[in-house]
């Protein structure tokens, strides 16, 4: 597990971000048990933003987010993820795209 996470961190380290401190553009609604869709984001998010805590709830740290929208699409029916574009100028800045 840790080796995979190290690898994704290395990948994201190459990217440029302007983090809007204290204003995450993605939030997970409070829950006790996540839906299978929400839980699947722990693996499906390409920036590995989602993780499961000890209580089995899903948490997000959106700093490495590439704004692809996958998590919003996957949980559209369950409504567990609140997804907005970051404020203008913030978020990921692709050098090459």
């Amino acid at each position: 597990m840790s080796t995979l996470n190290t690898r994704i961190e290395e990948k994201l380290y190459q990217n440029r971000y302007v983090v809007d401190a204290g204003k995450p553009h993605i939030k997970i609604k409070d829950h006790t048990v996540p839906s299978p869709e929400l839980k699947s984001l722990v693996t499906t998010c390409p920036a590995n933003c989602y993780s499961e805590n000890e209580q089995g709830q899903v948490e997000i740290v959106a700093d490495g987010c590439m704004e692809c929208g996958t998590c919003r699409v996957v949980t559209a029916e369950t409504g567990e993820v609140e997804w907005n574009y970051p404020r203008g100028g913030y978020g990921v800045l692709f050098k090459f795209g």
């Binding site: 995979l4 690898r7 994704i8 990948k11 994201l12 190459q14 990217n15 302007v18 869709e37 699947s40 984001l41 693996t43 499906t44 390409p46 920036a47 590995n48 590439m66 704004e67 692809c68 929208g69 996958t70 919003r72 699409v73 996957v74 559209a76 997804w83 907005n84 574009y85 970051p86 404020r87 203008g88 100028g89 978020g91 990921v92 800045l93 692709f94 050098k95 090459f96 795209g97």
Partner: protein
């Protein structure tokens, strides 16, 4: 305190290929155009493989080759069907592609979009970056009359809003103009930029000067999911990526970056990128639901182009040309209405749809409308067949003292076992029917 409320002929949301094509077309014709882009610069939020199709851009900026940032013109296309240790390839390379005005180029989108946007500015369009459109403004009758952003207090008003906001399309969605994307209808693609010295790329891909190679790959690389991989040669870098339908990805439990790393380590791919320096890792959604997943693309005071309109031809890996063409046709329709002093009502903007129908855009979208469902219900087309072909090739090519007749019957037996004759015929018919 009186504030002068400036009104624009058109507001364009987004500065990708569709938005830039629309904004350029309208600004060039003398319309007062405001374009809003949420990134720090145009291109900073945009992702593509990327191949530029010259024809679509030529119809907007005929002499783009003079100063657009282009990487390599494509002289060779490889289509690879891969299993875990092999690839069966179909290659087409032609000296004819080394022409004065090449047909396809590899590009780097962040650079290209910035250039395209500079052309919009030169044509007289006002481009505001770092500005996220938060919602559409409607009048009491529900007609779209402008937008709200996160930067300006009041609404920005225009006769028409061109939504070229890309695949996520939140503005249109939240204004009730289209539905949220379905996990079956979008692919998640991840990509890395691998830098290598120019001469290394040229020797590995048998290239000279600005010529380039593109590889599209399918098979076991997507681990049973519907998707494809690609590798494109740029001047001093190679773009390598892989994408799969989101619903497949989410069910599989496979991490997208592990899928990419596994594709990169395939014995047919690894030597091509050996020793490279990775400078970026990106992810993006691609609308791949085809014609049947398209939303409404015009209404009272609004028009949609590009990925936001779901205009991608997944079979031919085309998207940016559909985006540019739809953006141009949206712009031309608006200019045409302005000159006739007609309002941008839904009835009048139907002309946009008509022009799209007359162009390759909707003709191609219609042609392949059954393909997404076909691939979704028949994953063997992408998994079993590449494996089967590899098995056939290997049996046939390995010289091992077996008689050729024995090899032939071995091949027939293995095909029968893997799919069966009825299965083969059914797949063939299904595919032919969907392709028509």
């Amino acid at each position: 305190m009186a504030t002068v409320q400036e009104r624009f002929d058109a507001i364009v949301v987004g500065a990708g290929p569709a938005g830039n094509a629309a904004a350029y077309t309208m600004a060039k014709a003398g319309l007062k155009v405001l374009q809003l882009e949420r990134g720090e610069y145009p291109g900073s939020k945009n992702v593509q493989g990327a191949i530029l199709y010259a024809d679509a851009l030529e119809k907007i900026i005929p002499d783009f080759r003079e100063d657009a940032p282009l990487e390599r013109h494509v002289i060779e296309q490889r289509i690879w069907m891969m299993d875990d240790s092999s690839h069966t390839g179909m290659h087409y390379r032609s000296e004819d592609f080394n022409e004065e005005k090449p047909n396809r180029y590899t590009i780097i989108r962040a650079q290209f979009d910035r250039w395209f946007s500079s052309q919009v500015r030169e044509a007289g369009g006002i481009v505001l970056c770092e500005t996220t459109v938060t919602e559409l403004v409607k009048d009491t009758k529900g007609n779209v009359i402008g937008v709200l952003t996160d930067r300006h207090g009041g609404p920005l008003l225009a006769d028409v809003v061109v939504m070229a906001e890309g695949v996520n399309g939140l503005v249109g969605q939240r204004s009730g103009l289209r539905d949220e994307l379905k996990p079956d209808n979008v692919a998640l693609a991840v990509k890395e930029m691998h830098f290598l010295p120019q001469e290394v790329i040229e020797s590995r891909f048998n290239l000279k000067g600005d010529a380039g190679v593109v590889i599209e790959a399918m098979g076991t690389i997507t681990k049973g999911m519907t998707g494809t991989g690609f590798l494109y040669t740029n001047k001093e870098s190679v773009s390598i990526g892989i994408g799969c339908i989101v619903s497949d990805m989410s069910k599989s439990g496979i991490k997208p970056y592990n899928l990419l790393d596994s594709f990169k380590s395939h014995p047919s791919i690894a030597p091509l990128i050996a020793g490279s320096e990775v400078k970026e890792y990106v992810a993006h959604l691609i609308p791949e639901g085809g014609f049947r997943a398209m939303p409404e693309i015009y209404g009272n005071g609004w028009i949609v182009a590009g990925d936001a309109a779901h205009l991608v031809n997944a079979v031919h890996r085309e998207g940016s040309n559909l985006a540019m063409t739809s953006g141009r046709l949206a712009g031309e329709t608006i200019v045409w209405l302005k000159r006739r002093r007609e309002p941008c009502t839904s009835v009048n903007l139907a002309e946009y749809k008509k022009r799209l129908e007359d162009s390759f855009v909707l003709k191609d979208m219609r042609k392949y409308q059954k393909i997404p469902a076909l691939l979704h219900g028949n994953r063997q087309l992408l998994d079993l067949y590449p494996r089967m072909m590899s098995g056939i090739a290997q049996t046939w090519l390995r010289v091992d003292g077996k008689a050729k007749t024995a090899k032939e019957s071995e091949i027939f037996k293995s095909v029968r076992k893997q799919r069966g004759l009825a299965g083969l015929v059914a797949d063939g018919l299904r595919f032919a029917r969907a392709w028509r």
